[in-house]
Symmetry: C2
């Protein structure tokens, strides 16, 4: 049975469920940062998914990318499946700005996360849910 990796459960809010993926919001107010986690037990690599699942993954990834673009008007999207620390397959989608604290470096390991306030998290999650559903 699929179970979210404890590190992702600890660091993220659940936004919604898409057909293949659980959509998470990283609790780091420095960047709009969504994570797609395919709900398929034991998956580590994209190529571990079936062809149909990969197709679905990339459709959901494009949907999330378009939403990040339209809500935040990012200078650049960063889309990445790394997983060196948390091997459960998860695909980062991060709206990057030339003014953000890590620009132009990748965000990982650059700056400690700055949590959202409860109100800001709630408002952003609702906005994302409306866009995704």
């Amino acid at each position: 049975m699929f179970q979210l990796a404890p590190e992702l459960a600890r660091d993220c809010f659940v936004v919604t469920e898409l057909p293949l993926c659980r959509v998470l919001l990283m609790n780091d107010s420095q960047y709009p940062w969504l994570i797609l986690v395919p709900k398929v037990e034991g998956t580590r690599e994209i190529i571990d998914l079936s062809e149909a699942q990969q197709l679905q993954l990339w459709q959901e990834s494009a949907q999330v990318s378009r939403i990040l673009q339209s809500l935040f008007n990012a200078d650049k999207l960063n889309v990445a499946a790394l997983g060196n620390m948390v091997p459960q397959l998860h695909i980062h989608h991060i709206a990057r700005f030339k003014t953000d604290v890590a620009w132009p470096k990748p965000v990982w390991g650059q700056h400690p996360a700055v949590a959202y306030s409860d109100d800001a998290a709630q408002a952003l999650i609702e906005k994302l849910q409306q866009a995704l559903n």
Copy 2:
């Protein structure tokens, strides 16, 4: 007309041409590191590609990932479209090992590249060409 970004031309070898993408080998012997560059002028984001092109991109990405897995038996693949420094769309495919110099961090900006010797580059490119063609 499509033209490879000068930074990619400078830092990489051309391995081969797939239907959508040029396949590059990063000249950094610390990691087996391939880059797919869709040969579509002016593309910055994955979602700038047509749906048919995105489908082709992910098929070529899966092909490259499977080859990295089978040739190098990596501990983890890192697949990422960042582009903060070089905005031309390019998708990194990096075979990572628990023993590599940057593990478990992402590779970007961690360690200066260590160029291949001419012989090592030639041998690796031929091996990759055989696997891809």
